[in-house]
Subunit: 174 residues, 2 copies
């Protein structure tokens, strides 16, 4: 955490002073390290909402009211962000969050990796980090709702589809 | 709410003093009213954990540590209990709770109706009440994981199974 803070203490105009204070649990992804950049995770939920919106735009998600996004982040049990760090600049390149009863169940939502950083194992690293954090809170039932094109991705991470015939069901307003 | 409090102010040994203070949003189910009993809902999360355990025992659920159940209730977004009221006695006959990010998504867990009160439309009433409460908080994406034998029950309530191929997935520890 100290290292992370140091990393951004000398940040330039790219990151705001608010962002420079980003804290939480940090973990570097050694396999994604290059001469020029490194990848870090954080569980600090104090994320710039416009930067998060840019990330979601990049994968074509429908825009959501920032007021509601802010509320959702505040009331998520876990917020995980993934950052590319180049010199003293950093960029939000991935995100996931989970709701939970803090005891038995967690549900993972809004998993996103910037398209320029996909196919590098970073989505897998992001999910493994998220699972690890939930497990460290003694949550044993980790769930999610997977779009068809990512079912295989989650299966490879150990998620089971419809175990014992349990079905994910959705209710939407008329 | 006043009515509910009055109802239990004179409660006898059947309900504890703690239970007598049960508050929250109350709603009677007129269709379930008989000469001798009435059915009420409450959103008060101050439920006697032993009474809840008895209810879960009645449907054969595995027992869970009360410490964790307490924590889960505290951190659920919504807790709904269903009560049979006979004279000045009351009995917990149904339960449901939901986790949520307070903004977009809610997931309903632990839906249970005492077997003696099943096949009377009370499970349906419990779910409709739960949906109504979530909708009143502007939650638009209501989800759950349904065991095979209750998929049809939830479908009749408007829940869709795997909409657009979205799959419910579970991760359990090894």
């Amino acid at each position: 955490m100290v290292f992370w803070k140091k990393l951004f203490d000398k940040t330039n105009g790219v990151t705001t002073s608010k962002q420079a204070e980003l804290e939480g649990d940090m973990l570097e992804v050694p396999s994604a390290r290059t001469d020029k950049s490194r990848i870090f995770f954080s569980t600090d939920r104090n994320i710039d909402l416009y930067e998060l919106e840019d990330l979601c735009d990049a994968v074509g998600w429908a825009r959501r009211p920032l007021r509601k996004v802010k509320k959702a982040l505040e009331h998520s049990f876990l917020v995980v962000s993934m950052w590319e760090v180049k010199g003293n600049r950093r960029r939000l390149i991935g995100f996931a969050r989970a709701t939970s009863d803090h005891a038995f169940n967690a549900t993972i939502w809004d998993v996103v990796v910037n398209p320029s950083f996909q196919k590098k194992g970073l989505g897998k690293a992001l999910m493994k980090y998220t699972i690890k954090k939930l497990r460290s809170s003694d949550i044993s039932n980790i769930t999610l709702f997977a779009d068809p094109q990512v079912v295989e991705f989650y299966r490879q991470l150990g998620f089971m589809q419809d175990p014992e015939g349990i079905k994910g069901m959705f209710w939407y307003p008329d």
